[in-house]
Amino acid sequence: MSALARTSIADGADGFVTAKLAGHWFALPISAVDEVFLLTRITDVPRSPPGIIGVLNLRGRIVTALDTRQILGFPPAKSQPTMAIGIERAGELFGLAVDEMGDVLTSVPSEREPAPMNLDRRWRDIVIGVQRSDNNLVLIVAVDRLFDGVISLVGT
């Protein structure tokens, strides 16, 4: 029962959205993702807590753009992030900045493996499984855990 419940958390029956961050491919269940959008016209918010890039207008909604690298403890990217994955949380829209967007994966449960023990510590906390796709390892991320990281950094 618990295994089933756990699978269903991470499992989008519809598949996963993949993106690259700090050299790793990771995936979020499509059901958790609102949309993917360009990070443009970001307004910097003076004295904002770390982990926040700024705010932007997405069709009349205010989106808080999150510096995913900083939240997970990776060094800043060489160039400004341009893409973000939009996730709604408590009625607000957040944009997780990523380095690059990948394809949408359809989940094949049999190919899923647990997260390897030697995975980077920063990923280990939020990854609930690993999946092979082409020649890449895709880390399946639990959105809730990712947001735990946001909250601990931002302090809301």
Partner: protein
């Protein structure tokens, strides 16, 4: 069960409204000579509640309503409306509210308990009317009511006392059955009728819409507005006129839609006032005060969300006014007021805001007590408190846990409240001002926005960032530039701005927000200074005025306020965000936050700036001084205000007669005086002459050399024994001797034959001069003497009081305001306490003339307020007041 739930929740909402009305009507009834219409209405209210409760199976409420209905019926049939009857009815209202609350939270179940005492009180109240014992009267009432009104509901109207439980059972069908009648819904219809009859302002046809629906509609419309703005921005650079026409239409329709949706959220402020008559009545009867509550502007509309947020603050403030503000009837009579205290509420629109005034004609705020309390609680030091204006002192009542009520009454005085009131009001972007006059009452003014959703804002820029600032909090906008009308000055590295003779601490938005340009390339903070160009917005928050410096002011714009994203809510500098026409998001600056942040890391910093600003103001008490040399190489100083003209004369033109030198000046001979030895008579030598004139007389002071004119304040540090010299002071960065003008005036007039000169008559008006500064004493005294008065000079308030208590009777008392130990205000109060002196005019003499100071002076009993350097003003005032006292004497 859904049908039942709907029915029940509708009943709860309706009944809550009815009960609120009930309170108001009852209080009205008490003050109404002919209450027939009101009694009919009250009867109907009770009747409706009774009917519905019977229907829903709520026997306790039905029983109460029934007994109340009976009482109303007896009253409308001629029984007198007694205080007890109203009390009993109010008890019913409370009990019904209590039961209703329980029903709401407990799925439609009435609480256990008995209402016998309340019902008995109702029956007795009616019985006192002289109709004999209570029970028969009640029975009569029922007998009349039931057949006439509602035969179907007769069941609950069984014997009043034990009635409720059985009545409920017999009359109300089991819940399951009640669904049917619900579908037939005979009752909502009656209810609707009742409602329209009893509510005044609302239209005939209305429907209930849930708040969520309206909120959602509002959000969607806001987004539409933003999209429209965005489109307009895009089209601005597009020549296609077909699109333009369509866009224009879209724009108009959007605007109308926005207005319409906004209007659905508007409610008259009277809705928030409903509870007040009842509260005032409760306070007045529990404290034994007589209070009249006056309300005007109840139809002023504002956003329901705003209305919700000010409901509790209003109740609190009215309760405060009733409890603390108004005195007991005896005290009022003693103070020469009518026995009945008055609280008035007034609401009106002004400049896109709603102003709500809560005024009472009670004792007013006690400045001294608030001061003492603030010092006790360590909020301010004695020194700080002494230099604060009344307005600043009043603002202490908004400190948490601050209560000056001497006794804790059942009503208030527990020290919770005004801070909560303030934070509630500020949360919605409003503010509170207090005005108070001891003995005459207080006025609290709430300024609140019409709506929280849309705001008129100034869009300003710093570096490349834009920000929105609520326009309502900006008092004034000043351009600052070097050499311009206004420029930033630095006081110990804190930027300040002088505006209308007041110094304002300036908060540089760049520094506050730590924008990249707030530090230079070496990481050293940049501080705004004289060379800064930009705009300063003069703002007011929590009783403090300050300026906020920005680079650019772009335009004003109606912005749709979006709440701050959760992750950013900790930022106290911002209250929200908004989307501009070009699609950019910008932050809305929160003036209260800026004030708080500006005073961090500690309030002390801001206080210090304010204090420094005041110090400068004292120093601003500067005057122009003429620096010259005469006889000795030391620089000498004389206030230019005393000098009529600077002349260059040839000593050969001077005449000598009767041991006095004269010189021709403006076709008259004026006496000459000098320092040290007399100049060589007849020497062909040119010398500067300082001509001083007063009351038609002039004299000339010969000096050797004019050195300079400087602006500085004069504080004589080392008194001098030398005649003609008051002492030494540091002026313009160097030591200088300050001239004793009175000495030279005396010197000149002693030998001076002048028909105009009035020798001091024995009966000359005595003018009491009080000033701690030897310089000013010596400056003012000669002026006063030369005008024909007899000045009596004192160096302190205490010395002057000694003289006054010793029997001295001056024609006018002139006192300095800023003195150590006893200041001018305290002195004035002490003088006014002496009966004999009550009619003696009191003039305040000071370097600072501000509205605050004038207000304080008036409070202290001063008749006039004159600048220290305004010699003519002083003389004019002396003339006015001495004439006046002569007239009175005559």
């Amino acid at each position: 069960m859904d049908g039942m739930d709907d029915l029940l929740s509708e009943f709860i909402t309706d009944t809550q409204e009815t009960l609120e009305q009930l309170d108001i009507r009852l209080v009205e009834l008490e003050n109404e000579a002919d209450g027939t219409a009101l009694l009919n209405e009250l009867f109907r209210m009770m009747h409706t509640i009774k009917g519905t409760c019977g229907f829903l199976g709520l026997p306790r409420m039905a029983g109460l309503a029934h007994a109340a209905e009976s009482l109303m019926d007896r009253l409308r049939n001629g029984d007198p409306v007694t205080h007890d009857a109203i009390d009993a009815m109010l008890q019913v209202a409370d009990r019904l509210k209590m039961i209703l609350g329980h029903i709401e939270t407990n799925a439609g179940k009435e609480p256990e308990g008995s209402d016998d005492t309340v019902i008995a009180a109702l029956n007795e109240a009616g019985g006192e009317g002289g109709e004999g014992s209570a029970a028969p009267a009640a029975a009569d009432g029922e007998a009349q009511v039931e057949p006439a009104e509602a035969a179907a509901e007769a069941a609950p109207a069984e014997p009043a006392k034990p009635a409720p439980a059985p009545a409920g059972k017999t009359s109300a069908p089991p819940p399951g059955m009640s669904m049917k009648p619900a579908n037939d819904s005979p009752k909502p219809a009656t209810k609707a009728e009742e409602k329209t009859e009893s509510s005044e302002g609302t239209g005939d046809r209305s429907i209930r819409v849930s708040v969520e629906t309206l909120e959602h509609l509002m959000t969607v419309v806001s987004e539409l507005v933003l999209t429209r703005n965005e489109l307009t921005e895009i089209m601005r650079n597009n020549e296609n006129s077909n699109h333009k026409l369509a866009l224009q239409r879209l724009s108009t329709v959007t605007g109308e839609l926005q207005q319409a949706v906004m209007s659905t959220r508007m409610q008259p402020i009277g809705n928030a006032w409903r509870k007040l008559p009842r509260i005032v009545r409760d306070v007045s009867s529990s404290l034994g005060k007589q209070i009249e509550l006056e309300m005007s502007g109840a139809n002023t509309e504002l956003d329901r969300q705003v209305l919700e947020s000010i409901k509790d603050p209003l109740v609190h403030m009215v309760r405060n006014a009733a409890d603390h503000g108004l005195e007991m009837p005896d005290d009022r009579v003693r103070a020469g007021k009518s026995e009945k205290g008055k609280i008035s509420l007034n609401a009106y629109h002004e400049g896109g805001q709603i102003l709500v005034e809560i005024a009472d004609d009670g004792r007013g705020l006690d400045v001294e007590r608030i001061k003492t309390k603030a010092i006790e609680r360590g909020i301010a030091t004695q020194e700080d408190a002494d230099r604060m204006t009344n307005e600043q002192i009043f603002s202490f009542i908004f400190e948490p846990g601050f209560s000056t009520a001497a006794t804790v009454t059942s009503v208030s005085g527990r020290g919770v409240g005004m801070d909560v009131v303030q934070s509630n009001v500020e949360r919605i972007g409003g503010s509170i001002d207090v005005q108070s006059q001891q003995g005459e009452g207080s006025i609290f003014t709430l300024k609140i926005p019409l709506t929280l959703a849309i705001l008129r804002a100034l869009i300003v820029g710093v570096d490349n960032e834009d920000f929105a600032i609520p326009q309502t909090s900006v008092d004034e906008l000043l351009k600052v530039e070097p050499g311009g009308a206004h420029s930033i000055q630095l006081i110990k590295e804190a930027p300040v701005l002088r505006s209308r003779d007041r110094l304002l601490p300036v908060v540089d938005l760049r520094t506050l927000l730590q924008l990249p340009s707030s530090v230079d390339e070496n990481g050293v903070p940049r501080v705004a200074d004289e060379s800064t160009e930009g705009f300063v917005m003069v703002m007011r928050a929590r009783g403090m005025r300050f300026g906020m410096l920005v680079d650019r002011v772009l335009r004003t714009e109606e912005i749709v306020v979006k709440p701050m994203p959760a992750a950013l809510r900790g930022l106290e500098n911002f209250s929200g965000s908004t989307i501009l026409g070009d699609g950019r998001v910008i932050m809305i600056v929160d003036p209260n936050g800026v004030r708080t942040a500006a005073s961090s890391p500690s309030e002390a910093t801001m206080q210090q700036v304010a204090k420094q600003a005041e110090d400068v103001e004292v120093a601003a008490n500067k005057e122009l001084l003429l620096m010259f040399r005469a006889n000795t190489p030391n620089r000498k100083a004389l206030p230019i205000s005393l000098i009529t003209r600077l002349e260059d004369i040839n000593l050969a033109d001077a005449d000598h007669s009767d041991g006095q030198w004269h010189i021709q000046y403006n076709s008259e001979l004026i006496p000459l005086v000098w320092f040290g030895d007399p100049p060589a008579p007849g020497a062909n030598q040119r010398k500067p002459l300082l001509v001083m004139s007063d009351a038609g007389r002039s004299m000339g002071l010969l000096v050797d050399e004019i050195v300079d004119i400087v602006e500085d304040s004069v504080q004589v540090q080392i008194p001098s024994e030398q005649p003609g010299i008051l002492g030494s002071a540091i002026i313009g960065g160097g030591a200088a001797e300050v001239i004793d003008v009175s000495y030279f005036l005396g010197l000149a007039s002693a030998h001076w034959f002048d028909p105009q000169h009035k020798p001091l008559m024995p009966g000359a008006d005595k003018i009491l001069l009080v000033d701690d500064s030897i310089f000013f004493r010596n400056l003012v005294a000669p002026v006063v003497r030369s005008a024909g008065y007899d000045p009596v000079v004192c160096a302190s308030g205490a010395e002057a009081l000694d003289k006054l208590e010793g029997g001295m009777m001056p024609a006018v008392i002139v006192t300095d305001v800023d003195m150590p130990e006893m200041d001018g205000f305290a002195f004035a109060k002490a003088v006014k306490r002496i009966d004999r002196l009550r009619s003696v005019p009191l003039l305040a003499l000071t370097g600072m003339i501000t509205d605050d100071a004038i207000g304080r002076a008036r409070d202290a009993g001063f008749d006039d307020y004159i600048s220290k350097l305004d010699r003519n003003g002083l003389l004019q005032s002396l003339r006015d007041f001495t004439n006046m006292s002569e007239e009175i004497a005559a």
